[in-house]
């Protein structure tokens, strides 16, 4: 197992957001997280990444069979975990291209990726300064490509993106998750989606639905998404297999 989350509880500013989460992702697998606003999806990704605001109160996270529960963020990144942020901070005076170069860890030629994402021109702009919703998504993806990771955590990669650009982003995610490979596929993904649109671009292996801080349903992601669309999250939780 690449990532193993055991009985994980997480609190933010004293409030427990996630309760006893169990989740496993193997090499090459793509998992999808469903759940309504405030159900704890982002918190789970943040906790896996190690962001300090998301405090782990019990349980553990194992990555490549090592307990990373108390590991600093950058150590996790070095081990191969990376994340695309929903609302990344602006860093003035530092060019996006400079950061991409700095974090390039033997990833593909980022210039080519930047080109296919149509963002070559804003490599010269300050990190996230004045980026539109779609530009943020693209810039986050570009950084993940450069990092050459083993597990990518994608927080709503398609939200706020126009129809044309969803296609572009979908393609890059597909290639990021090595969908062109079969047996040799190593990279795994955990993807949050509300719209389900991203499912049209990648074969996801498994879905998990979060409700009130707990995983309430697991299964085939397409079937789950259909059920959620037709009957709502609560109803989907009730049909727990």
């Amino acid at each position: 197992m690449l990532l193993e989350i055991k009985d994980l509880s997480v609190e933010v500013e004293g409030n427990e957001i996630l309760h006893n989460i169990n989740l496993g992702i193997d090499h090459g697998e793509t998992h999808v997280l469903f759940g309504k606003n405030g159900s704890g999806k982002t918190s789970l990704l943040m906790a896996i990444m190690g962001i300090s605001r998301y405090k782990i109160t019990s349980g553990s996270i194992l990555f490549k069979r090592t307990d990373i529960t108390g590991l600093p963020i950058n150590e996790r990144a070095k081990m191969g975990i990376g994340m695309s942020f929903q609302r990344p901070p602006t860093i003035k005076g530092v060019k996006t291209g400079e950061l991409v170069k700095l974090i390039n860890n033997g990833g593909k030629s980022t210039e080519g990726i930047a080109e296919s994402l149509n963002i070559s021109e804003f490599l010269d702009r300050d990190i996230n300064l004045g980026f539109s919703g779609g530009e943020i998504k693209k810039s986050e993806l570009l950084q993940l490509v450069a990092q050459n990771l083993d597990l990518v955590l994608l927080d709503e990669p398609e939200s706020g993106v126009d129809v044309e650009n969803i296609k572009v982003i979908g393609k890059v995610i597909k290639s990021l998750l090595q969908k062109h490979l079969r047996r040799q596929r190593i990279r795994a993904g955990l993807v949050i989606t509300h719209t389900g649109l991203i499912l049209n671009y990648l074969e996801a292996d498994r879905g998990h639905m979060l409700l009130n801080g707990g995983i309430k349903c697991e299964g085939n992601p397409r079937e789950m998404f259909e059920a959620i669309q037709n009957f709502g999250y609560e109803e989907c939780a009730r049909c727990q297999r």
């Binding site: 990444m49 190690g50 962001i51 300090s52 600093p72 963020i73 950058n74 996790r76 990144a77 070095k78 990376g82 994340m83 942020f85 990344p88 901070p89 860093i91 003035k92 005076g93 530092v94 950061l99 700095l102 974090i103 860890n105 300050d126 990190i127 950084q143 990092q147």
Partner: protein
């Protein structure tokens, strides 16, 4: 001239508007006389090392216009650019009768006791004039060096960029590494004539017990541009300066950038004012200050006299230590309807959110912080020669590392 002397005498005890008051009697008026050297390679090894560390190019060829004042002696002055005149002020006063039209015309000699002292105990300075229409290819570098313990160095410079001319001026101020106390008073009067452009970059590289009181006045005529960059990254006991820029001609432009780090024990009170007195004038004052334990006052004043003038002011500060403090004082003074003036000021810390974002990309905490600090100080200074821009980038890069 005698009227000027009289006015200076009446201001001899006048405290400055800003900054801690300095007891001028505590500094020696006299310094040993230093010999002139036609080549800077004639200086002692330690002196050359200090100069090189302060960024002075000591060999000819690379930089063709250099002026070096050591203590009270003009030690070197060379120029080999057509249309660029660079003289030691003593020589200029002798040679040019017309200099009186520029002497204490952009700075009032009665401003405070420091301007008064610069007149009464004048020690030297440089005179630069770029002839009309001449676009100087090489920068003029001026270095003011304090090498003798406990002295006061009183400098008065006059810079004239004639109509349509262009000049890059780099002033570097430094003290010998072996000395402790010292006082530097530097009056600079800058005249930018019709359609001319000057970029004046001042890099201060003093010492922990050196007091600095620059007094700068700038007159900018029609269609002319004045750009100033002030960089202070090393310790200083006390530095206080508040250059005053007057945009007197239509469509004149001023841009003042300040980038500084105040280390523990440093008292820094800097800023500048731009008075927009003609239609179509524009101004921008930007400062980025960091305290790693020192105290900073970052000022800025924009005065709009004519409808339609545009000006913006930014004072941003980062406090990276428990001890330091930063006061940002941006002021806007609109004297007439129709001015467009704005300011933003922020004093804060590095947000953990930014640091963790970069850590999620694999940078460790120190690397992330250094990158953020570097970005913070990275003010776009327009029109700098490439090598100077690289040098400033390097200074900022190093300060990004060293502030941690």
């Amino acid at each position: 001239m005698s009227k000027i002397k009289e006015r200076a005498k009446t201001a001899a005890n006048k405290k400055a508007l800003y900054g801690p008051d300095i007891d001028l009697a505590g500094f020696k008026k006299d310094a040993s006389v230093r010999d002139y050297t036609p080549e800077m390679s004639g200086l002692s090894e330690e002196e050359q090392k200090n100069l090189v560390e302060a960024g002075i190019v000591t060999s000819r060829g690379e930089r063709l216009c250099s002026y070096l004042l050591m203590d009270h002696s003009p030690v070197h002055c060379s120029v080999s650019q057509e249309g660029v005149e660079l003289l030691s002020m003593d020589d200029a006063l002798e040679k040019h009768d017309g200099i009186k039209d520029y002497w204490w015309k952009a700075v009032d000699v009665g401003t405070d006791k420091y301007t008064a002292q610069a007149e009464i105990d004048f020690n030297g300075g440089y005179f630069v004039r770029v002839k009309a229409g001449v676009k100087a290819t090489f920068p003029v570098q001026a270095c003011l060096y304090v090498g003798e313990e406990g002295i006061a160095q009183n400098v008065h410079n006059v810079i004239i960029v004639e109509e349509g001319a262009e000049l890059q001026l780099i002033t570097r101020c430094t003290a010998a590494s072996h000395i402790g106390r010292g006082l530097h008073v530097g009056v600079s009067e800058i005249y930018v004539k019709k359609g001319a452009t000057i970029t004046s970059t001042m890099i201060h590289n003093w010492g922990e017990d050196i007091v600095v009181r620059p007094r700068t006045g700038v007159i900018v005529e029609e269609g002319a541009t004045y750009m100033s960059n002030y960089v202070l990254m090393r310790p200083v006991k006390s530095a206080q300066t508040f250059p005053s820029v007057r945009l007197l001609g239509k469509d004149a432009v001023a841009r003042l950038n300040t980038v500084l780090v105040a280390t523990k024990g440093s008292e820094v009170d800097v800023g500048g004012s731009v008075s927009l007195e003609a239609t179509g004038t524009k101004a921008e004052i930007i400062s980025r200050t960091i305290s790693t334990g020192g105290n900073i006052v970052a000022r800025g004043l924009l005065v709009g006299h004519k409808p339609g003038v545009k000006a913006h002011l930014e004072c941003n500060g980062l406090i990276l230590s428990e001890e330091g403090c930063i006061r940002a004082i941006p002021e806007l003074d609109g004297r007439v309807a129709g001015v467009e003036m704005s300011h933003e000021a922020a004093v804060g810390k590095i947000s953990p959110e930014q640091v963790e974002y970069l850590m999620a990309r694999g940078l460790n905490e120190e690397e992330a912080t250094a990158l953020i600090v570097r970005g913070f100080l990275n003010v776009k200074m327009e029109g700098l020669p490439e090598e100077l821009q690289e040098e400033i980038d390097r200074i900022i890069f190093e300060s990004g590392k060293s502030v941690l």
